[in-house]
């Protein structure tokens, strides 16, 4: 049976006299008959379910009208009016809409405030006797989670969760329908769907995707087409007939609840109902095949599947302060920088899920875990595994994470089960089942199976299902347990045979105490992948492991066409020229080439060798270094090389100079002259100036850098003191040109002998001339060339 929802209330209320800018819920409190009439029209049109006019009746939205204390009153009135309009079989859905605020960490409103606000409204709606709650038009997964958790806490009635998706197929904060469906179905929604933003044509695919991801019923309430503005009013163009055409398609795609949203009227609902009646779908919709739901974890934006039918998933283990003093110290100081670095680096190294352990003695682990999951949710798209034995830390991790997390782990110990299972159920988490009982570590695969069975039985009692389980094979050290390896392989095989759930394990333990651990780990990993390991927990930086995983993916047929493997084996970025070119027998030529290629590391031994071979610093500087920078400069001017390459060459120059100075401390470098640099007063940009400073210094000048936003008098003082040959002035914007003019004027008035070069995005040769500068430089290289020319005179 297809259930027909009502259509939009907004347009209807406006037509009934709701003044623009007036609180809709207040207006219907004052004009209940107008609202009742709209509800009646929808019932007459064939709606099975009518939605209360409480979309904005939450404390936060109501505060815009200073009605935040009228939550109970406004919700009660709307429900009462809806009831009064019901037919004998009509159901009433209590509407809960967005708060209009972004939820932390995407915004400043906390999750808890959001939860409280939704709890307040859901309680009211429940107390007033709605038949179900519909959370609708939600644009952010975390807001939906808060609303759903609040509704579940307030009522046992069914809860419908509808998102608003954009034309790009995602919510505004980036969640796609598949990810949304997985997160919400495990969190306890009864119906999942979408409404608003798009018309039926655009939403068809959304319905399909949700219907192919969950066995829950799907609801859809499209707008009457894509809106346009006509004479200052928003018009939704679809006629009832046009909209109704889509109804059978939406049902075929999997929708069990159909309504409509913005721009719709009772005529639209009637047309939809009649069409479905005529084609027979109303009472006999197409059969929806029961899906076998795979195990999946989600983040705000991504889904990762685990299991035999999916590629191997790497769970990165590095966010763990155990045995890591520096990391523990950072967490004590609430500094998450190293956690963030580890997260990014692990993702770069191939991890698809990140294990998060905040176990540092003496800290508030729950609060630290909250910050960790919120921080990581902003940084990586990978789902998380919450690794803790502390129930409050576990709850914090699960509650504040905007996705479906994995719990690492549940053992068969009664206390652990008692504390962790309710949290797993409440927050819809997947669980790693670790076969440890109160009686100690299991010694045989059979014992592990038994322990896992205990956990699964208890979990099923709590309401978890097959898509929630990941089994840990429990790796022990080979050095202490010679049969550990074979035992694991047998365990994995048995896990596949008895349960079929995805398997995991912490790989690194196996090689403890043995030499060349990486070899044991990588070999063990390959064997386990073949025996049934799906999601190893490991150190993603281990290159032998990376290689083993890549090769295994090919062998197991997960890397189609061996594409990833072949790409990985391709030579790393092109080797620097000089190591593939014939070795330069001429040391000076070798140095010159190395500077041109920007090879900072290679230059040091080359310069040392040249000095040892008897070349003087002067020769090296003139024939190799200066020649190199000149060539780089020319190439830059000709557009054959680019600024980062010039910078690398300059750094290489510097390394050469430093090497000379360290090897021959008594050698004094002949300076081409002194250059004083500054960005003028009022100008706070210094990238250009810094580039010029770098180039000047490494082309033989002595540089005094006064920094940015430098007043003319300060520049004058420094010029008087240091008597530079050149003063370089930078200005970025037209608004700071007057300061440039003034600086030049001040220097001229003081009869400074320094030659003035000006540069910066806003400068031109013409401006430079009329401002009285001696030269204009379009870029750092030009500045160096001009400085050389001016000081050579």
């Amino acid at each position: 049976m297809i259930k027909i929802f009502d259509g939009g209330l907004g347009t209807m209320l406006q037509a009934a006299g709701l003044p623009p800018g007036y609180c809709p819920e207040l207006w219907t409190l004052e004009n209940p008959e107008a609202l009742a009439e709209i509800h009646r029209q929808y019932v007459l049109a064939g709606a099975n379910i009518i939605t209360t006019n409480t979309f904005g009746a939450n404390r936060i939205k109501l505060s815009h009208y200073n009605l935040q204390d009228k939550v109970a009153l406004l919700n009660a009135s709307a429900v009462k009016t809806a009831r009064s309009a019901c037919g004998p079989n009509t159901q009433v859905a209590g509407s809960v809409g967005p708060t209009g605020k972004f939820i932390a960490p995407l915004g400043d409103q906390s999750f808890e405030t959001t939860f409280d606000v939704y709890y307040e409204q859901a309680q009211c709606l429940d107390a007033c006797g709605v038949d179900m709650i519909i959370i609708e038009t939600i644009i952010d997964i975390q807001e939906m989670r808060a609303a759903l958790l609040a509704a579940k806490a307030a009522t046992t009635k069914p809860i419908i969760c509808q998102f608003s998706f954009g034309a790009d197929g995602r919510t505004v904060t980036g969640t796609d329908p598949v990810t949304a469906a997985i997160t919400l179905s495990s969190l306890g929604a009864h119906v999942i769907g979408a409404n608003c933003s798009l018309g039926p044509e655009q939403l068809l695919e959304v319905v399909s995707k949700i219907a192919q991801t969950t066995n829950l019923p799907v609801s859809i309430q499209p707008n009457a087409g894509m809106p346009r503005l006509e004479n200052g009013r928003t018009i939704f163009p679809m006629t009832p007939e046009q909209m109704a055409e889509w109804a059978p398609k939406l049902v075929e795609a999997g929708a069990a609840y159909i309504g409509a949203c913005c721009g719709s009227t009772p005529a639209h609902i009637k047309a939809v109902r009649d069409t479905l009646q005529n084609c027979g779908y109303l009472t006999n919709p197409p059969f929806r095949t029961q899906l076998t739901i795979p195990t999946a974890l989600t983040s705000r934006t991504n889904t990762v599947y685990l299991g035999a039918n999916f590629p191997t998933v790497v769970i990165g283990e590095r966010i763990n302060p155990t045995g890591r003093k520096a990391l523990a110290a950072d967490l004590r100081a609430k500094d998450f920088t190293s956690i963030k670095k580890e997260a990014l680096a692990q993702i770069q190294a191939g991890a698809q899920i990140l294990d998060v352990n905040m176990g540092v003695p003496g800290i508030d682990q729950a609060d630290t875990m909250k910050q960790a999951v919120e921080t990581l949710s902003m940084l990586v798209a990978a789902p998380l595994s919450i690794d803790t034995t502390d129930p409050s830390a576990l709850e914090a991790g699960l509650r504040y994470y905007p996705g479906r997390a994995l719990i690492n782990s549940l053992t068969a110990e009664p206390k652990r089960l008692e504390q962790f299972l309710p949290l797993a159920k409440k927050y819809g988490a997947a669980i790693i089942c670790l076969p440890v009982t109160g009686a100690g570590l299991p010694s045989t695969p059979a014992e592990k199976i038994e322990a896992v069975q205990t956990i699964i039985d208890a979990a099923r009692q709590t309401g978890l299902n097959d898509a929630d389980f990941v089994l840990d094979a429990l790796v022990l050290t080979l050095a202490a347990n010679p049969d550990a390896g074979k035992g694991i392989l047998e365990t994995l095989r048995l896990y596949r045979e008895h349960f079929g759930f995805p398997a995991t394990m912490g790989l690194s333990n196996v090689s403890y105490g043995l030499p060349r651990r990486e070899l044991i780990n990588a070999s063990f990993c390959c064997m386990c992948l073949a025996a049934g390991l799906d999601a190893p927990i490991l150190n993603p930086y281990d290159t032998s492991m990376q290689d083993a995983l890549a090769a295994s993916a090919v062998i197991l047929g997960q890397d189609v066409g061996s594409k990833n493997y072949i790409q990985k084996q391709a030579p790393k970025e092109a080797l620097p020229q000089t190591t593939t070119a014939p070795i330069q027998s001429d040391p000076l030529e070798a140095i010159r080439q190395t500077v041109i290629n920007g090879e900072k590391e290679s230059i040091i031994p080359l310069v040392k060798a040249a000095l040892e071979a008897g070349y003087s610093p002067l020769e090296i500087t003139d024939k190799a270094l200066t020649a190199a920078m000149n060539e780089v400069g020319t190439a830059f001017g000709a557009g054959r090389c680019y600024l980062p390459q010039v910078m690398l060459a300059a750094e290489t120059m510097r390394a050469a100079f430093v090497t000379i100075k360290e090897t021959l401390p008594s050698h004094s470098v002949k300076s081409l002259g002194t250059v004083l640099l500054a960005t003028v007063e009022g100008d706070i940009h210094d990238l250009g100036k810094n580039i010029v400073a770098a180039l000047m210094e490494n082309n033989g000048f002595y540089v005094i850098d006064l920094g940015k936003d430098v007043p003319p008098q300060t520049i004058l003082k420094a010029t008087t003191k240091y008597k530079p040959d050149i003063v370089g002035l930078c200005a970025l914007m037209t608004t700071t040109l007057p300061a440039l003019d003034e600086t030049i004027a001040v220097l001229r008035a003081a009869k400074s002998t320094a030659q003035i070069i000006v540069g910066g995005a806003v400068l031109t040769p013409e401006y430079a001339q009329q401002a009285g500068a001696d030269a204009y430089a379009a870029d750092g290289i030009q500045a160096v060339n001009i400085a050389k020319a001016l000081t050579a005179k």
């Binding site: 915004g107 608003c196 346009r228 963030k340 980062p644 390459q645 690398l648 914007m733």
Partner: protein, 233 residues
Amino acid sequence: MQTYYPTITTLKASEVRRYAGLSPQTDFSEQMLQTAMREAILLIHPQGTWNTYPYDEASHIIYTPDPVTLEGKNIQKFLTGAVQVAILAVTISTTLEEEVTRLFADNSYTAALLLDAAGTAAVEQTADELCRIIRHQSSAAGLVSGNRFSPGYGDWNILSQKEILPLSGGPALGITLTAASMLVPRKSVTAIVGLYPTQAQSYPLDTNHLSCQHCNQNSCLARKETTNHDKDF
């Protein structure tokens, strides 16, 4: 008005390269670029805010409590057909630019240049994220949002920043203006986005006249090469 903190997990490498002054074809150390981008992601604190106001295209007036008239042919043409404008401000805060300064002081010029470029890409991406939200919200009212246009673009006087910054709500993010109309933190952007009725003839706008090829900053490091799909703004 509220602050939105967009999630930025990756940067567009092509944009970072462009801001660093590399041509699309230049072979440059992928490792250095990746390092700069990764460092940038760790250092940025992306955030933004915006306000929406009615707009009259004929008189070029933004109907804020204290109405503001837009001057400059480019911005006026850009907003032809708009019935509302969203004025936004974004920043990535000062942490990244402080690290750039430190790298230069440490003679790591290349890393500094690349990190600075990554910072620019990050703030632009933050602005893109805000525009996405503005687009979604305005579509509910039957409006389509255009691309963004900032003070200083074309002939829109940079001094208009004095009016635009307060209208954007940027001060709530800690964004201030120097006497010379520069935004602090340096990696901050303010912009106007026009909101147009969907049946209006003037949308989508021909924005080619706003491309790099028509800008007079010939020595701009980030100047784009001409392509057929050159839609800068």
